[in-house]
């Protein structure tokens, strides 16, 4: 029994057609007990469909879902140890907050006093004791969201499912509530699947993120490696801001775009690996770009000028035109002088061919290495999506 309990969610090769669409095309994913996993992807990629299959509202065409070692693929929703927070909350408008939360417990035929205690405890946890006797129509969006969460949590589910639970909240509340959810989820150690199309949300609360596209999982890894080491061209473009240009590898750096602008990159191994003369999709983060005033070095080929800049307060985002048809975006510290010509170099880059990651450079050691081995150490380790690289 206890051995089973250490197992969390295990999904293997789930497929689903809806109408004429193959919506989910073979999804496999595991979540350890207590882990929070995000399904992240653009609209229409099959996140909701996957989540609904886990919750039991859709039955998969093939594949299996097991929870705590038990196969639940064939169980109806009411017999699954899962609880879902719906995107529109789906609170019952004719019941008070108390009744909404208590309904699941009453179905389990618990004694009245225990129901009372558990509802009170969970309402306290989500800060809603004052709204106990109100109807959902008399609550704000944030309060409704918390009732929905309380209704799910009170059942102490083995698996919590959330379908874009924050999308109806304003930006500030969204950040607050997602932190609350994360805090409660960690405290109760509930295995959780969280659907979102907001990458900030995913990066900030997940233990692991599954990036989905077209009904498949593109990459499944922790937020840091997802950000630093996107395994496919799609993920590189989807998660965070990234310069992605076609280019070739030459001694001491890369030539980019139709202009073949030379950009130096301090990676000794790069030329050995990629110098086959062929074209790559070269990707580098905005915080991995160095922009300096050109000063007297007027003869350098990669001289450029800042075409646009947007201040974000503690940093700025600039667009540098390095060639007639080639520009590079970069995050810079607020004090960099950008009035004259500038020179651009790249600290760390990734190479893609046919949509797959082939090479990543590690600036710390000045060496990079081809990808493909599982033994590869993680990326250089930015802990969040904030562009602190430019401040170094």
């Amino acid at each position: 029994m206890s051995a089973q309990n250490t197992q969390g969610l295990e999904i293997s090769n789930l497929m689903k057609r809806l109408g004429d669409n193959a919506v989910v095309k073979g999804i496999s994913l595991t979540a350890r007990r207590g882990e929070l996993v995000c399904l992240l992807g653009p609209s229409g990629c099959g996140k909701t469909t996957t989540l609904r299959m886990i919750g039991g509202f859709l039955s998969p065409d093939s594949g299996s879902i097991s929870l705590g070692g038990l196969d639940i693929t064939e169980l109806p929703p009411e017999r699954r140890p899962t609880a879902m927070v719906f995107q529109n909350y789906a609170l019952w408008p004719h019941m008070t907050v108390y009744k909404n939360v208590a309904f699941g417990l009453r179905l389990r035929r618990l004694p009245k006093t225990e129901i009372n205690d558990r509802v009170d405890a969970v309402l306290k946890m989500v800060n809603l004791v004052h709204a106990k006797d109100r109807h959902p129509g008399a609550l704000s969006g944030g309060e409704q969201q918390r009732v929905a969460l309380a209704r799910a949590l009170v059942l102490e589910p083995q698996l919590l499912l959330l379908d874009e639970p924050l999308s109806n909240l304003d930006a500030k509340l969204r950040v607050e509530v997602r932190e609350e959810i994360r805090e409660i989820q960690q405290r109760l150690a509930i295995t959780t699947v969280f659907v979102t199309h907001d990458q900030d949300e995913a990066l900030s609360i997940s233990d692991r993120i599954a990036v989905m596209s077209g009904g498949r999982i593109e990459q499944y890894s922790d937020p840091d490696s997802l950000y630093r080491r996107p395994e496919s061209r799609f993920v590189a473009g989807f998660v965070g801001s990234m310069n992605i240009l076609s280019g070739r590898i030459v001694a001491g750096g890369i030539t980019l775009g139709p202009d073949g602008v030379f950009i130096p990159c301090d990676d000794a191994v790069l030329a050995n690996y990629g110098g086959d003369g062929g074209e790559w999709e070269v990707a580098f983060r905005l915080e991995d770009v160095d922009v300096q005033s050109a000063g007297g070095l007027t003869s350098l080929p990669h001289r450029g000028s800042v075409a646009r800049q947007v201040s974000h307060g503690h940093f700025k985002e600039v667009l540098v035109e390095v060639g007639e048809h080639t520009s590079i975006r970069a995050y810079l510290g607020p004090d960099v002088d950008l009035s004259g010509p500038v020179v651009v170099s790249v600290r760390r880059l990734l190479l893609y061919r046919d949509g797959a990651l082939c090479y990543e450079s590690h600036p710390a050691s000045g060496r990079g290495q081809p990808t493909g081995g599982e033994s590869l150490p993680g990326g250089a380790g930015l802990t969040s999506s904030s562009p602190s690289g430019s401040l170094r």
């Binding site: 039991g56 009411e78 899962t82 609880a83 879902m84 408008p93 309904f103 209704r151 059942l155």
Partner: protein, 294 residues
């Protein structure tokens, strides 16, 4: 105050374009309003005028032509009507048929309405239109066809025959309005109930039915009233064994002066008024309106 200031600052600009353009919309707006007020008053008179007329007639003692109101009021016609031998029986019958027809109609139509709202039924559209067409054509033709059938089945002059013929008139809205009411219950509310552990049946009774209740209630009130007021079919099928209030009305009109008929008509409209007040009290405007969105 502020509105006025804005108007004056805009004044010169508008005069430059011509004051006529400015005045016309306001004039026509006032006109529209006047027209709509008159229309509402006329409509009101058209609907309630005859009822008021009836009400006055029911209490007439003496009333000679030029006078606007009766010279003498009296309850004598009420006494006459209440002493009319078969009146009590007809009231009793009416209030036997109306609940029976309503209940039976609900039993037949509500499951159909739920199915229409929730499942993909082949030919759903065609079925709904056939239902509608039952009410769209002159009923008397339909009734006569049915009467021949009832003769064959020995249903003429039977309780069941009357119930069936009255049922016919209630089926349309007893299906359409609850279908709309069920369809208006978001599926996610039902899924949420399943999710916390409720069976399909439990979900239906705890979530779906209470939320669709206002629409269902409206439909049942309408069915009750339709049964109560149904005269044509009941007359054809029920006579002579089952004479309900509206059927009784026919013989009253021919046997007695208009005053007695007025009394009877007032009596006949009491249940309608009571039920309509009930609907107003128990059904919020929104749900009532929702009940009619098919």
């Amino acid at each position: 105050m502020r509105v006025e200031t804005v108007a004056t600052t805009e004044g010169p600009v508008l005069t430059a374009e011509g004051p006529a353009t400015r005045r016309r919309p306001r004039g026509s707006f006032g006109g529209t309003r006047l027209v709509s007020i008159v229309a509402v008053v006329l409509l009101f008179l058209f609907i309630f005028g005859p009822l008021l007329w009836l009400l006055v007639w029911a209490f007439v003692g003496v009333w000679h032509y030029p006078a606007l109101l009766p010279q003498k009021w009296s309850l004598s016609w009420w006494r006459q009507v209440f002493n009319y031998p078969s009146l009590a029986r007809s009231v009793e019958l009416s209030f036997l048929f109306a609940p029976t027809v309503t209940a039976l109609s609900a039993v037949i139509c509500l499951p159909a309405a739920y199915a229409f709202a929730r499942f993909r039924i082949p030919g759903r559209r065609a079925l709904m239109i056939i239902l509608f067409s039952v009410n769209a054509f002159p009923k008397i033709g339909l009734y006569i066809t049915i009467a021949t059938l009832f003769y064959a089945l020995n249903l003429m002059g039977t309780f069941l025959g009357v119930v069936l013929i009255q049922l016919l008139g209630t089926i349309v809205f007893m299906t359409w309005i609850p279908t709309a009411a069920f369809a208006a219950v978001p599926r996610s509310l039902e899924e949420a109930a399943r999710d916390v552990g409720a069976s399909r049946l439990r979900t239906f009774f705890t979530v779906t039915l209470p939320l669709a209740a206002p629409g269902i209630f409206v439909a049942m009130v309408l069915a009750f009233l339709a049964s109560l007021d149904e005269a044509q079919g009941t007359f054809l099928v029920g006579i002579p064994n089952y004479v309900t209030m509206p059927v009784q009305m026919y013989s009253l009109v021919s046997d007695y002066p208009p005053e007695a008929a007025a009394v009877f008509a007032v009596l006949l409209s009491v249940p309608s008024v009571v039920l309509m007040l009930l609907v107003r009290k128990h059904v919020m405007g929104g749900s009532l309106a929702r009940g009619f969105q098919v």
